[in-house]
């Protein structure tokens, strides 16, 4: 690759030195951060790690199954206050709250993974092809993505959930419904970021050079453009993961949840706990809710930390001088330029197009 020539050099351009996501990206970011930003990033990483750990070890950690109603000594009983047998009490349906909170992390993780894989492949591919080839397909895709982007994402997710599951869900039915609903919301974001980057990169000298030596479109797209266009994706990934968890919970809360016998899902538990609140029963809602907050908070803190580090204006000042040129180009983030600009129309031409003309 042509960019490799400059790698590590003192005046290396962004593309060369910043391919951090391939070699333990987060460690690198932690090193780069200072003070509060480091604290927030580390707090986010700890919370996210905790979430992952609980999700993976759920069978070992949970005292009961997510759908268990009784043990050898009899039924658990409904709405039991926290006690030594049920540390966080039982739900209105007679399940153990702690167990469902722990098992719920697993469901959330499944949804994040499936949603990410789907939206990543579809969104990145569309953005790459659209940005690289341009033409009428590009225009149509941009208009479609803008239309979907401006739509209230929860409503879109509801419509997709109805389309996929007809409103009722088994474990995988529910997970796929939530994941695909979230995917449809995310695709425009991946599309926009990758497309904007592609449009910018395709006019770089190293792409021209590759063309001159006769590289095929496919090779240029995947080897030269894609690998440079995906630098900001870890950031979008963390933000989308947190969005996925809250969308899943919101869908569950609105009645597209996964049946309690099929899996534990926090949003569904909160829906069932809504009536408890009025009678002062707090443990059925507080714990699943806190679980959502912790996971979303952790992922958001990581995303926010990465976002700050990628934006030279936000990075804590002491380091700004050292590497601002290096990072300046990485602040391409989904919708950033579009939102800050006139909104709407700017997307038609691609944010980077505009900037280039003005300079």
């Amino acid at each position: 690759m042509s960019t490799r020539i400059s790698e590590g050099g003192p005046t290396a351009p962004a593309a060369g030195t910043r391919r951090g996501w391939k070699s333990l990206p987060l460690l690198r970011q932690v090193q780069q951060s200072v003070g509060l930003q480091r604290g927030m990033l580390i707090a986010g990483l700890v919370l996210s790690a905790l979430f992952l750990l609980v999700a993976v070890l759920a069978p070992l950690l949970a005292p009961y199954e997510y759908n268990q109603l009784r043990d050898p000594s009899g039924a658990f009983g409904a709405q039991q206050a926290p006690s030594s047998t049920h540390l966080l009490g039982t739900t209105v349906g007679g399940y153990d709250v702690l167990s469902r909170v722990i098992w719920g992390s697993r469901t959330a993780l499944y949804v994040i993974v499936v949603a990410f894989v789907l939206s990543f492949f579809v969104g990145v591919l569309l953005g790459l092809v659209s940005g690289y080839f341009g033409g009428w397909l590009d225009r149509v895709l941009v208009v479609v993505c803008d239309a979907i982007y401006a739509f209230p994402s929860l409503l879109l997710a509801i419509v997709v959930a109805i389309a996929i599951s007809g409103g009722e869900s088994s474990l995988w039915g529910g997970i796929m419904a939530a994941a695909i609903a979230i995917t449809v919301v995310f695709i425009p974001q991946y599309f926009r970021v990758v497309r904007a980057e592609t449009v910018r990169i395709k006019s770089e000298a190293f792409v021209e050079s590759a063309k001159v030596i006769g590289a095929s479109h496919r090779r240029i797209m995947f080897r030269h453009v894609l690998r440079n266009a995906t630098r900001t994706l870890p950031l979008i990934l963390t933000l989308n993961a947190s969005e996925a968890v809250s969308t899943l919970a919101a869908l569950g809360f609105l009645g597209f949840g996964i049946e309690p016998t099929a899996a534990a899902e926090w949003g569904y538990d909160l829906k069932r706990a809504l009536a408890d609140v009025s009678s002062g029963i707090w443990w059925t809602s507080v714990f699943p809710g806190l679980a959502i907050v912790i996971v979303v908070l952790g992922l958001t803190l990581v995303g926010e930390g990465l976002n700050d580090l990628a934006d030279p204006r936000l990075r804590t000042r002491r380091r700004a001088v050292a590497s601002s040129a290096d990072v300046a180009e990485t602040s391409v983030v989904p919708g950033g330029t579009l939102d800050a600009g006139p909104g709407g129309l700017a997307g038609l031409e691609g944010p980077d197009d505009g900037r280039r003309y003005e300079q």
């Binding site: 003070g35 509060l36 927030m40 208009v143 479609v144 803008d146 239309a147 979907i148 401006a150 739509f151 209230p152 994402s153 929860l154 409503l155 997710a157 509801i158 419509v159 997709v160 109805i162 389309a163 007809g166 974001q189 979008i236 933000l239 989308n240 947190s242 969005e243 809250s246 919970a249 919101a250 809360f253 609105l254 009645g255 949003g267 609140v277 009025s278 002062g280 507080v286 809710g289 959502i292 907050v293 979303v296 958001t300 995303g303 926010e304 976002n307 602040s331 983030v333 989904p334 919708g335 950033g336 939102d339 800050a340 600009g341 006139p342 909104g343 709407g344 129309l345 900037r355 003005e358």
Partner: protein
Amino acid sequence: MTTTTTELVAGGADPDTWAPRAEKRRVGGGGLGAYLFIRFLLIFPTIFILVTTVFFLMRSTGDPITAALGGRLTGEQLAERVREAGYDRPLLTQYFEYLGNVFTGDFGTAISDRRPVTEILTTFGAATLELVFYALLVAFLVGIPLGRLAAYLRDRWPDAVLRVFAIVCYATPVFFFGMLLKLVFAVNLGWLPVAGRASTGADIQLQQLDGSTGIYLIDAIRLGDGEVIADVLEHAVLPAIALGLLTAGIFLRLVRTNVIGTLGMGYVEAARSRGVPERRLLKKHAYRPALIPIITVIGLQIALMLGGAVLTETTFEWKGLGFQLTEYIEARDFVAVQGIVVLLAIIVAVTNFVVDVIAALIDPRVRY
């Protein structure tokens, strides 16, 4: 709730896009009129795409009659109803008919209670509008001053506290936050009502008012009864805070980022070197230009708030469009769901247009 990315990222804008002195140098840029005209025309493909997407998604699982009444009717009765409603015709025929209907303002009729969707909108839309208005008020009052403060005290401890506050605001699902508020302020402390838009007595009085607007605060003021006004306001506090703080967190972040951006601009340095006091610098030089991008983000915020309103209304039994939407979801009445969703999509598209017009009027660099 589900828009963290957009919001987080909206702050990451390029300073050039709103630098006060940046000049328009786009070759062939049209005037304001041309821009507004093109922007207006763009509403139609947006709505068309959304109507089409929603229609085919909703119909991909089969016809709405079977979905709503499947278990309750025999196969023959069901087939009869399906034929009556015309759902046995080719999908494309139905699609074009639906497009035509939407174009003439007919969004379908609910299966469960046989109400036209437009009537649902006029009955319940006012309640949602009222809630969104209160929430926006909370968001502005909390988000913008705190964002300024955070920018001013950048990297010191109040900034840290405010930033964590902002993140917690949008990490907390609006319905969970609503439930917590209910637990603490309504159930345990008993300060505020648990749910609804007004107490039963007040509710009846307001419903019976001649020429009722559906916006309870206005109706209560017209009724002229101090107790009813207080009652309506008491009921609004918790839902407004629940939905408003979500957006406040986003505003806080956005204002902070933008003010920090403008504080670093050359003209602010120049003003500082002329001896302009720091306070005035923040107020006049940095703050005002920083508000322009916020106006454009509000359009997206309203879309977000409609999603949040659905959840808030369900949590507080606030009888608006969102509450009604969940009722229809429970009843598996997908004609009504589709109608409400399409209507909201049109409202969002038009709102975004209006916001873009306002942005263009304020900021002369927004032209094409």
